[in-house]
């Protein structure tokens, strides 16, 4: 019997890096995040890679990803998007903090400049 052709939206990519922690991983050059213990859905709207790209990645022995069936694609997509939204939130928070730091540094520098000029004016 020929192998069943996976349906778009019903398969996902799973990380096969040996001993990888059960955390999201990224592979430079490959869009998306991948876990060793759960598949990232592919081939659907908003998924990180198309089905064709996913098949290429899974066929490449140099890439630690395998194509697996996803039992509940809708739930997997929801879970994946929850993660990416949270990750974007963290990045936004970090960016805002960094911006705040710059503003604080500028304020500190201004205060320091005021402090050093005041005695001279006296």
């Amino acid at each position: 019997m020929p192998p069943r052709k996976p349906e778009a939206g019903a398969v996902g990519l799973r990380l096969t890096l040996p001993g990888a922690p059960c955390t999201p991983h990224n592979l430079p050059g490959v869009p998306g995040f991948y876990w060793p213990d759960r598949p990232t859905p592919v081939g659907g709207d908003g998924d990180p890679v198309t089905l064709e790209h996913a098949q290429q990645l899974a066929a490449d022995p140099a890439v630690n990803l395998e194509l697996v069936d996803v039992a509940d694609a809708a739930a997997a997509r929801a879970e994946y998007r929850t993660f990416t939204d949270a990750a974007r939130g963290v990045l936004r928070q970090v960016a805002a903090t960094a911006e705040g730091d710059e503003q604080q540094i500028a304020a500190d520098q201004l205060a320091a400049a005021s402090a050093t000029t005041t005695p001279a004016e006296d």
Partner: protein, 343 residues
């Protein structure tokens, strides 16, 4: 973006990798997000300039022996540190969290978290120390190396005020070869997993001790590397444990000179100490990444107090060592992370 990667694997056989020996490896494979990996071939060519040849010019050298080594510096990511400890100290005792087992802080470890424990006396049994294997890809330069039989002689954890807590490890290797492009696509933990930082560090230390200005921890692994007669290799073929056990030491500069610290140095007072890192990043069920280093009997073994000057603050710095009063397990390192196994 510049391209390149470094892969660290733990060698599991009792015969470390050499030019001719390919060891077996633990299945765990780590692309280390290092700050720096510095391999050194250590060539020592034969220089025949000491021969009487009536030549007043430098004589050409010829290859004779190589003494490879490697040093690495990385931020203290929970998985990276675990792999480095596994290479140096051997595979830990690993237990999956189940809502029953606890960490050294008596917090229950939930499902999804794994506890890895290294207990002194460390290291694989036998004469061979823990060894690892590196593959280094200078991808933009099209140059690739493999170092086999690398044994860390020291692992130092530092806690700079900024830049994240870091570990550095260094040690000799039995072989360094230029290899063909492994052609791999690296896989890294996402940036959402943070390294431990100085602000994550708490110390349970000598009672009455002064405020701590800085803290470093060093694991020293005595090694001896030799070439056996008849090996036929320009590289070392034996990596052995040297005299002395694996030792945990460190330094702890204090903001103020305190009589409790000085008296502990004077009397070689033994005290229980715990170094704890608690990451803000949650692994599962509200449980974050954690690292504990417990010393049952820490002792100050050296110290230096600031010279008395016309200053408001006079500090002191102490060197400490983890020792045993007879019972085994004088140092216990516990790492709680999301890695299910370092085997």
């Amino acid at each position: 973006m510049p391209l390149g990667y470094a892969i660290l694997r733990r060698e599991t056989t009792n015969a470390p990798g050499t030019e001719t020996v390919t060891p077996t490896y633990a299945s765990k494979l780590l692309y280390l997000p290092a700050l720096e990996v510095n391999p050194d071939l250590g060539p020592a060519p034969l220089d025949r300039g000491d021969e009487i040849r009536n030549i007043d010019e430098p004589v050409s050298v010829v290859p004779e022996v190589y003494n490879p080594s490697l040093s690495v510096r990385s931020r203290m990511y929970p998985d990276s540190l675990g792999q480095m400890l596994a290479v140096m100290l051997g595979a830990p005792t690993t237990t999956a969290g189940n809502g029953v087992i606890t960490d050294p802080g008596s917090t229950v470890i939930p499902v999804g978290v794994t506890r890895h424990v290294w207990t002194a006396p460390f290291g694989p049994t036998g004469i061979v120390p823990g060894c690892g294997d590196w593959r280094l890809a200078y991808r933009d330069q099209g140059t690739f190396f493999q170092l086999k039989g690398w044994a860390p002689s020291s692992l130092t954890i530092t806690n700079p005020e900024s830049g994240g807590a870091q570990f550095t490890a260094q040690g000799p290797a039995n072989h360094m070869a230029r290899i063909s492009d492994p052609g791999l696509t690296p896989s890294y933990e996402a940036l959402t997993v943070l390294p431990f930082m100085r602000r994550n560090l708490t110390l349970s230390w000598l009672s009455g001790s002064a405020a701590t200005e800085d803290f470093t921890l060093t694991i020293t692994n005595p090694l001896e590397q030799t070439r056996s007669v008849g090996s036929g290799s320009a590289y070392p073929d034996l990596m052995e444990k040297a005299e002395g056990p694996i030792t945990v030491t460190g330094s702890i500069p204090k903001r103020q000179l305190d009589p409790d610290d000085y008296d502990a140095l004077l009397n070689a007072t033994g005290f229980a100490a715990t170094v704890t890192y608690t990451s803000p990043v949650i692994i599962a069920s509200g449980y974050p990444y954690k690292l504990f280093v417990q010393l049952t009997n820490a002792q100050y073994v050296a110290g230096e107090i600031d010279a008395l000057q016309n200053r408001r603050r006079h500090g002191a710095s102490f060197e400490f060592r983890g020792t045993t009063t007879g019972a085994a397990g004088h140092v216990v390192i516990t790492l709680c992370n999301a890695t299910t196994s370092y085997a």
